[in-house]
């Protein structure tokens, strides 16, 4: 089968810079079209190209998914039950209460990241302020560049990754930032000459971080803090989306200069983000997706349940949360998916269009979305 995304993914600082440079500058959109009233399970909801660029241009989908969109020449996500469930929960949420936390869990390839991104799209269209972390692996395992923090001794900064995260935030929330007026609540001194006064717009912090990469990690931490304060003051509606949330509770691979393995608390970006896991803020929601690697024979039996993946520490942090199961496709969804692939000319062999062929595809892959895609990619 295809080599997995992680092997092929290029995480070198060069490609990171490239992504950073090539991402579009913020531009105010034209009209946003509202999605239909009640989405139907099994249908494909397309993402407009410009919105896709804005939301996921920097970071969002894994390279395999990006390739999938390229091959199909269409960026659509299937509407599935977990997404509908989340929408139902959001509908009856009282935003004056502390933020609810939802964890998407399921097998590998079941569609957790896709559901998360679908929710990001929905949140974007409905005026939420998005804080989206697509791959914490960039912060915990392979950051492009590691520097010792100047403001807090003993902590590690990742300038390039932080700048990318700030850029990503700016892209996703360009519309929102232009409309709303979020102000900084206190004075921040970056260095002798660079100060952000109280009452300045939040955009300044972001821009400062993007231009001065040295302070980018601190800027990101400040950004998250200010967003929390703003949400608590009813100035914005926040949606925090964290992919691969259980990686925060695994031992990271980042090392200090002297060879010691760093802990999550010693990394500025990770530490700042983990503060959003608590429910001491209101006017928003937190959705996290777990990550489990079951691609090889040796790790095919790793448990994919939330408590096992989050470990005791993560459970302590998140409890009480609402776990939402992301299953493999149902029969109807699998049929819909195969119809979609046939429509987009991914399925070329004539046997794949016969009923027996389709039954075989569904049976061999146990209707797992990712496996089905891998299998159909060479048919």
């Amino acid at each position: 089968m295809l080599t997995t995304a992680r092997c092929v993914a290029k995480r070198s600082s060069l490609s990171l810079l490239k992504r950073f440079m090539c991402s579009p500058t913020n531009s105010v959109t034209s009209s946003i079209s509202m999605p239909p009233e009640k989405p139907i399970i099994g249908t494909f909801e397309p993402i407009k190209k410009d919105i896709y660029e804005r939301l996921f241009g920097v970071n969002g989908f894994e390279p395999v998914a990006v390739e999938l969109f390229e091959v199909l020449d269409d960026k659509s996500i299937m509407v599935r039950l977990p997404f509908i469930q989340l929408l139902e929960y959001i509908e009856k949420t009282d935003f004056d209460r502390p933020a609810n936390r939802y964890i998407l869990w399921g097998r590998q390839g079941a569609g957790k990241t896709f559901t998360l991104n679908h929710l990001a799209y929905w949140g974007y269209l409905n005026g939420f302020c998005l804080v989206h972390l697509a791959s914490p692996r960039d912060w915990l395992d392979e950051p492009a560049e590691i520097e010792v923090s100047e403001s807090r001794p003993g902590r590690l900064d990742f300038p390039l990754n932080a700048a990318l995260a700030l850029r990503h935030f700016k892209n996703q929330n360009s519309l929102f930032l232009s409309k709303s007026e979020l102000k900084v609540s206190q004075k921040y001194t970056w260095s002798l000459r660079e100060i952000t006064e109280q009452g300045e717009p939040l955009v300044n912090v972001i821009d400062h971080g993007i231009s001065r990469m040295k302070h980018a990690s601190d800027c990101y931490a400040v950004l998250l803090k200010e967003l929390k304060i703003a949400a608590n003051n009813n100035l914005c509606r926040l949606m925090v989306l964290a992919n691969d949330v259980n990686l925060f509770y695994k031992k990271p691979l980042v090392k200090h200069a002297d060879g010691r393995v760093a802990s999550v608390e010693e990394m500025t970006l990770a530490r700042a983000f983990m503060k959003m896991f608590k429910n001491d803020w209101k006017n928003g929601l937190f959705v996290g997706a777990t990550y489990v690697n079951q691609s090889h024979w040796k790790n095919r039996l790793t448990p994919y349940y939330p408590k096992a993946l989050l470990t005791d520490r993560g459970w302590e942090d998140f409890d009480p949360f609402i776990p939402i199961k992301v299953e493999n496709y149902s029969d109807m969804e699998a049929d819909s998916c195969l119809d979609y692939y046939t429509d987009k000319m991914l399925l070329q062999r004539p046997q794949s269009k016969t009923p027996e062929g389709r039954e075989e595809i569904k049976a061999i892959n146990a209707r797992n979305p990712f496996e089905m895609y891998k299998f159909c990619s060479n048919l």
Binding site: N279, D319, K325
Partner: protein, 307 residues
């Protein structure tokens, strides 16, 4: 003296002297066969069991212990196996004779013997009719063994072993002490029937062993009520099972309800459901059902309204 023996006689007179013994060289003429005695066929009576009534008094047939008699036992008994042959029945089967049989101890027989012995026995104590009552009043059971040999000595080293049995539910224990006593007892405790079995043979005499068993029981009981200082260092991961009262989950959910201005008293069932759900996940297995139950209970609490 007959000199004719030493004289050479001519052939004509050879056969006339019959003093020589004849050597039996030539085959003798066959004598007529003796008439055979006629075979006597006696009528063998059919085995007795064929003529037994089903409602007969078995005690009359088999009043005391005796060896197996196939024609008296009205049962189709088979014993033994030889390769390539059909099943070996009860007739001409020495195996059935070798093993002990208890045909003299059928319940009616036993009852008859008990009734005969009854007048020599004292009555069964009042208040101990059922097993539960016996357990209540006599919780501890001591099993002793005596051995008899057909030999000059009466000694047997196995006679000093005693077994003490009692049910753990008879002891007054709280959560912590029950957990501790079970750990201390180890294999001596059987959770299936709640039975503790203590077998002692370290002392030379039986009575000493009984006293030692009671001593062990006392020690284990009082030890289980003690809490060591290092037990205070237990963390939630070390708890024997999930204790909702001590857990942070309870604190968090109550904090949440307070933040939202809902009286926790009104939500008692929901909190109980939440407690059960977490307990299921932590103590038992985490699977689809338990996680779903947890999700539902949390949703109920997070979206709960003031009534």
């Amino acid at each position: 003296m007959n000199l004719s023996r030493f004289c050479v006689s001519n052939a004509a007179s050879f056969h006339e002297d019959e003093d020589y013994e004849r050597m039996p060289f030539l085959p003798q003429p066959k004598k007529p066969a003796r008439p055979k005695r006629a075979a006597i066929y006696r009528n063998v009576m059919p085995p007795r069991y064929l003529q037994m009534a089903t409602n007969q008094n078995w005690n009359d047939v088999w009043p005391a212990a005796k060896s197996f008699n196939p024609s008296s036992v009205p049962l189709p008994v088979f014993m033994g196996w030889l390769k390539g042959q059909p099943r070996l029945g009860k007739f001409n089967n020495p195996e059935l004779v070798k093993i002990p049989n208890f045909f003299h101890l059928t319940p009616p027989n036993i009852k008859k013997q008990c009734m005969a012995l009854k007048k020599f026995c004292s009555p069964w104590p009042e208040g101990l009719e059922t097993d539960e009552k016996i357990e209540k009043h006599f919780p501890v059971e001591i099993v002793t063994r005596d051995y008899c040999h057909a030999s000059p000595t009466i000694r047997d080293p196995r006679a000093r072993t005693i077994t003490m049995r009692f049910k753990l539910s008879q002891l007054e224990l709280d959560d912590h002490s029950r957990d501790k006593i079970i750990r201390l007892l180890g294999k001596r405790y059987n959770p299936l029937n709640d039975l503790v079995t203590i077998e002692t043979s370290s002392c030379p005499f039986k009575k000493q062993n009984i006293d030692y068993a009671f001593y062990l029981l006392t020690v284990v009981y009082y030890e289980s009520w003690k809490t060591e200082s290092w037990e205070e260092l237990k963390e939630p991961q070390d708890w024997e099972r999930f204790f909702f009262e001590k857990s942070s989950s309870r604190k968090k959910i109550l904090d949440f309800l307070k933040t939202v201005d809902i009286n926790a008293e009104t939500k008692k069932e929901d909190i109980k459901e939440y407690e059960e759900a977490i307990k299921d996940i932590v103590d038992n297995q985490e699977n689809d059902e338990t996680v779903d139950a947890y999700g539902r209970s949390v949703a109920k609490l997070l979206f709960s309204q003031v009534k």
